[in-house]
Amino acid sequence: MGYTAQRIVVGNNNTYNTSLKSSSTQLQEVTVAMDIKRNPRELGYSVQKVSGKEIQETQRENFVNSLQGRVAGLTVTPTSGVAGASSSIVLRGFNTMSGNNQPLFIVDGIILDNQTLNENSYGGSGIGLASDLPNRNNDYTNRIADLNPNDIENVTVLKGPEATALYGSQASSGSLVITTRKAKNTNGKVLINYDDNFRMQKITRFADVNNDYGPGVNGVPTAPPLSGQFTSFGPAWPSDTKKYDNLHNFFRTGFSQTHNLGLDFGSQNSGFRLTGQYFNNEGVVPNNLYTKYNFKLSNNTKIGKHLTITSSIAFISSDNKKPIKGISGYLLDLYAWPANNDITNYQDAKGNKLLLFNSNYNVDYDNPIWSAYHNTSGDKSNRYVATLGIDFNPFAWLSIAGRFGYDTYKTDGYLLTHPQSYLLPVATGGSLDNYYRTYKGYNHTITATGRKEVGKFTGRLLVGTMWQDFETQQFGVVGTHLIDSSSTDSSNTLVGTRNRLLRNYFGLPNLSIIREIAYFGEATIGYNNVVFLSYSHRFETASVLPKKNRNYNYPGASLSVIISDLIPGLKTIKFLDFAKLRGSLASTARLNDPYSNQSVFVNNQSSSVVPGFTYGFTNANPDLHPERQRTYEVGPELRFLDNALTIEAAYYNTLCLDQISQGYRASYATGYVLNTGNVSSLRNQGLELTLTANPIKNKNFNWNINFNFNHMWSKVLTLPLAIGIKNDYYNSDTYLSGNVRGGLVRGYSTGTITGFGYQRNNAGQILINPANGLILLENLNYVRGDRTPDFTLGTLNSFRYKNFTLNFLWDLKIGGDIYNGTDYFLTTLGKSARTANRTTPIIVEGVLNDGLQNTDHPTKNTIVVSPYFLNTYYGSTSLPDEEFIQKDVNWLRLRDVTLGYSLPSKVFKKIKGMKSLSVFVTGNDLLLITNYTGADPAVNANNPGTNGVGSYGFDYGSPPTPLSLSVGLHANF
């Protein structure tokens, strides 16, 4: 039999087991998708599963973060290290340049929402904030983080075409199929389990700050009152200056506690399970608090011989309070703050911002602690998820399954800028954004599966239909001139200053609706349990497309050959137990955002006697058709040494055609600024390798080791004609520091960073201005870096020695560039460590731009520059963006480490009813070995709500991931 439990867990909790009488392959069957049991031998594509236990052991409240390193080809990027931060998850690279690259989450057959709020409202016509921000000043939890990690039985990661082939265009970025824990048969008893976790968090890594110099310009001090206090290009602080450790004084020790309670009660035919979680996290940033309650009641009941009903209802309530990050946030203020000032002293006796450098509150800089408490945001969500599963198995050969789910939540949030903040002029009087979001998602999937065996042939035919109806409603209002400087109620703004989303003016919410009906089928034929061929086809109709292009369909096929059985000679190879070759290919589709085919009017609030309207920026395209993805995957699966060693490999190649470029720029002669069309294409390729070994296995000691290797590469093939060969296509949300942005250029990868660079001669030498000895800027947003790593390797070790377990996960990333925007910001202010040696005169390495630069004898630059007296040396025209892109950033992270100990029964037997008790210590991100010079390279300057590639690998004002250490216990009664 030989199946490595760690890789694919046999669905032993599955409710079918009782209704389907065992066949010879019964115990091997796995559930990959659609709750259809499959023989693992037939799978023509790679499937990786992560057990719920593994996820829970990491003690990460956003379970998405626990997946990094555990699945080849899966990349998680947290937006920041604060409590309640969102995380992006991308499978096998970015398949769309301007659409959503996040996978679909399917929980017990039901699609659950994982939106992250995007602040853009596109002139009030979208579902962002009324202030229509570029999605970089704040973060909003990605909503799948609502899921209680303790409810997860396992997560199956569908990375390739099979995801779309079965789950449709919504899953064109892959899907995560999650099975939750089901009620157990407890023979009428109530089983209780409780576990808790107490965690401390600390920030240990910071940007490299120089605190040697005082305020001033070109070595000349500026006298108070200082509006340029933060330009630290003055003389060095006198040696007797008292300096403060502001960085450490700002961050606090984060603390969180988690309590989980589970009750199981069941008999042979019916079982109930009730779980509850309380999570509370005081983040490392002052005024950052994330609280979450989670309850779920599920039931499964078997009625008669043929019918099983599975139902559940879950309620999740979360509350997240978070200071504003990014460009205008506390972190950059903190780094820039003068070293001779104690940040802990930030308000006067009346509670006003303490004036330090200027007599005007709105000109004086915001103390970071003051900013964290007064420029804040927060949101509260209440979510309900109800699911119903019906399994009807009238015959052994036929099963009919229905999965019906309703997912809804309401989120109320705000974004407050204090009237005294320097972010706004005094006349604005502070600003307050409020939003009220409601999500309602209904979906169902109904399938009928027939199975037949004829001689050596096995056959399975699946037909099904899927209906999806997802609606997000949003009210948003922004106003200024706050009446009360701290109230976050929308009535706190001056009436005449309020702006709303377009439909809100009529008392209606703005909407974003996607509806889609699909019919699909899959036929699988197996021969002799050795060769399997599967063909699927899906027909879809989606509301986001114009009627003429609304109906589309696509095929998929896969082949699996057990060559070790087919060629008996192979079995004679020593050590080889099993060899399989597999391949799959599919053509799939991907949808545009709703309404991207209709040019609309937005508010124009210029002087008028009637509410005015003007066309928005976007030239929508009424002729859009779905994006197409053509992909294939091949690879072997091999097992050796009595299955102690398993190797799986996959090579995939995905061609994404007819990409819908949303918001690409062209001449304004279109009458618009941004345009839409099926005009781009790209190709993604990758090699994934998974190796699982069980080198030691005996009664007392077991060691499992699992490697997940991933190497992927991509190429942008075509872009809109309006984008020149040397120009980039970009999402303006990523255009957030200097001239750097996540721009895409033909012929390069999807991970490129574009920005300004050095002018160089034909030999690649930097050109120097003969007039001043400084560099010449190439002010062209061209490729200056590539964030794509050379490879990543996750290494998971699991040890068990008697009652002890020790699991740890190393996450290695080699290569890939990081943009250190924080360092750019600090350099221009004279606060970066790179400005420390400013008193040393230097000669910029390069050749003079004197007409000889492209001859055989260019003039070497010999002009001496004294940065101390010429601080423009540190300005953006002398140190171009390319200077701040750190090449080939590697890291080795100890992501998660858990030491557990199951107490012997004699310890707890005195406690009545206690069946087991274990304790654990878990560390997250305890160790980071990296050549990165900034704080943490694994951050994102936008959030996953930004479409396209976004700004992962852009380190700009995002707090790093803290180091966490937690202790807790598990108890069963």
Partner: protein, 557 residues
């Protein structure tokens, strides 16, 4: 059992079909954008289009129109300069990698662009011929304004939503198109059938002409008059016994004749930027600029060749005095120009740091209470075209024709209309002692240094027009000055038309101009230089010295 299954399958199939029919409807329902309309009443589209004359403002966008560009172009014609020595536009530099001087480009193609197209299209469908005429009038103004600022631009392929690259057309094609559209506009504005209604038009143009189609016609005639006077330096202007001069005079006389007719973009005023004047202290856009020494001297009677010895009473309206109550200014390429603090002019909002009791003329701030004058107030109406300007057109055309007496009459009328405009529209915040009265006006006009009974010259006309259009008419004044290559002599007198005007030279002229003054702007950077490169390469617009290429309108041939 078998029967039951069959029955169930039948039932499932039937409900499946029903379900899919209802799904299909639900899918249809979800297609249309519920948040924003694909159609809005043209009455609600016109107000935004009108604001695009001056400073278009919609979500997160502002400054498309004459005002933002004017702040920069005013440095070429020395209306004003910034306080920074060597400032690019003060040195007649062009725009590199930025959207500066791209305001008209964005206003005409985007701010007005498709919005105007829809006013014309839907107005026609709804038989609102007045709206159709207004839409065409705005488009005609746009083409003329656009080509005069940028030279070649996109005309024939404009507003094609399916193109990703656009071809450029030449300036004469823009002039022809402008005039043709003017005549179409006039024919629609003359219609009274269908759903033409002053009341209804007033919904859309409440802050412009309040539904008065006759005034809109004058606006169109004004555009036509400009289209002829703008080519007055061309040889063709003399052809057929000055036929074009006759056209200029004819249309100027059909255009606005009183200040009541003036094309004025008004603002409602209030707490948001959208409803405040771009030049006002609330918006805070002109804090860094100061009047030029050239205009300050000209209006102080210090020009050696024009109005010498006659202080212009309008200086108290249009310019800002310094601490001693005298008008001084900057040389645009020199910044502060070495003026002492007390000589240094206040900014156009008249900011003085009263609290500290110190004179801080370099401040870019605004007083807490708006005490600005003229077009620099939060709620000032912004002239786009005035009766005074039209009379200057008549004066110039008549003088070129040799009709000196008509020229003098028009010239005096033009000055008088400008004085009246100040006293009627802009009397706010003028010190009592310096307010213009009827007597002031007549005394000024009676001065032979201003209006000589004989011997009226182009210098008189062009410099009085320079003063009359001060502040708001930057684009038109730039056209006028380019016709004279800034420093051309008047053939009649042999003296420089724009008397005493000097161009920056040597190190004060940006090196990339290769010694030449600026004659056009580069097309908008974020529209053309990034996204329409092949065509820019074809017309030679990639080079920075593209701005020194003289436009067709000012070339003799």
């Amino acid at each position: 059992m078998q029967f039951r299954i069959t029955k169930s399958l039948f039932f499932i199939s039937v409900s499946g079909i029903l379900l899919s029919a209802s799904c299909s409807k639900k899918i249809d329902d979800a297609y249309l954008n519920p948040n924003a309309a694909v159609v809005e009443p043209i009455e609600t589209i016109l107000p935004g289009v009108i604001v695009a004359f001056t400073a278009f403002f919609s979500s997160a966008v502002t400054g498309y129109g004459v005002q933002a560009d004017g702040i920069l172009l005013g440095r070429y014609i020395q209306y004003w300069g910034t306080q920074t020595a060597g400032e690019n536009y003060g040195q007649m530099g062009g725009t590199g990698s930025s959207d500066n001087t791209g305001g008209i480009w964005a206003a005409v193609y985007y701010g007005q662009g498709q919005n105007v197209n829809k006013i014309i299209q839907w107005g026609s469908e709804q038989e609102k011929w007045d709206y159709v005429g207004v839409g065409l009038a705005i488009r005609a103004w746009g083409w003329l304004e656009l080509t005069n600022q940028y030279g070649d631009a996109i005309l024939k392929q404009a507003f094609n939503t399916n193109l990703q690259q656009f071809n450029y057309d030449t300036q004469p094609e823009f002039y022809d198109s402008c005039r043709a559209i003017c005549f179409r506009a006039l024919s629609f504005l003359s219609r009274t059938d269908g759903n033409v209604s002053q009341k209804n038009l007033a919904i859309g143009d409440a802050y412009f002409y309040n539904g008065n189609v006759d005034k809109w016609k004058k606006f169109v005639y004004g555009t036509l008059a400009r289209s002829y006077i703008d080519i007055s330096a061309k040889d063709v202007f003399k052809a057929n016994n000055y036929a074009y001069a006759d056209s200029a005079i004819k249309y100027a006389n059909l255009a606005m004749t009183t200040n009541e007719d003036n094309a004025m973009v008004k603002v409602a005023g209030g707490l948001t930027s959208q409803v405040n004047n771009y030049f006002g202290p609330f918006r805070g856009n002109i804090g860094a600029i100061r009047q030029s020494a050239y205009v300050a001297n000209l209006m102080s009677g210090l020009n050696s060749g024009a109005f010498t010895g006659v202080p212009d009473p309008r200086a108290w309206y249009k310019l800002r005095e310094n601490k001693t109550g005298v008008f001084k200014g900057l040389t645009p390429w020199l910044g502060t120009s070495g003026l002492t603090t007390n000589d240094y002019p206040q900014n156009f909002w008249g900011y003085t740091n009263t609290a500290a009791g110190v004179y801080t003329p370099s401040s870019t701030s605004a007083p807490t209470v708006d005490s600005s004058r003229y077009v620099y107030q939060n709620t000032s109406p912004w002239p786009l075209m005035t009766a005074s300007e039209m009379q200057f057109i008549v004066a110039e055309a008549a003088l070129r024709k040799g009709d000196n007496s008509s020229a003098l009459t028009a010239y005096k009328k033009a000055i008088s209309l400008d004085f009246d405009l100040l006293t009627t529209t802009y009397p706010q915040h003028i010190p009592v002692a310096n307010q213009i009265s009827l007597a002031t006006t007549s005394a000024y006009l009676a001065n032979p240094a201003i209006a000589p009974a004989t011997g009226l010259t182009l210098t008189h006309i062009m410099l009085q027009k320079y003063i009359a259009l001060y502040g708001w008419g930057t684009h038109q004044t730039w056209i006028d000055m380019r016709k004279f290559h800034y420093v051309d002599p008047d053939p009649a007198t042999g003296r420089q038309v724009y008397s005493d005007f000097t161009l920056p030279i040597g190190p004060n002229l940006v090196a990339t101009n290769n010694g030449k003054p600026a004659y056009r702007c580069r097309p908008r950077y974020n529209s053309e230089y990034l996204y329409n490169v092949p065509e820019l390469t074809r017309i030679g617009a990639i080079d920075l010295n593209y701005i020194t290429m003289e436009c067709w309108f000012s070339q003799a041939k």
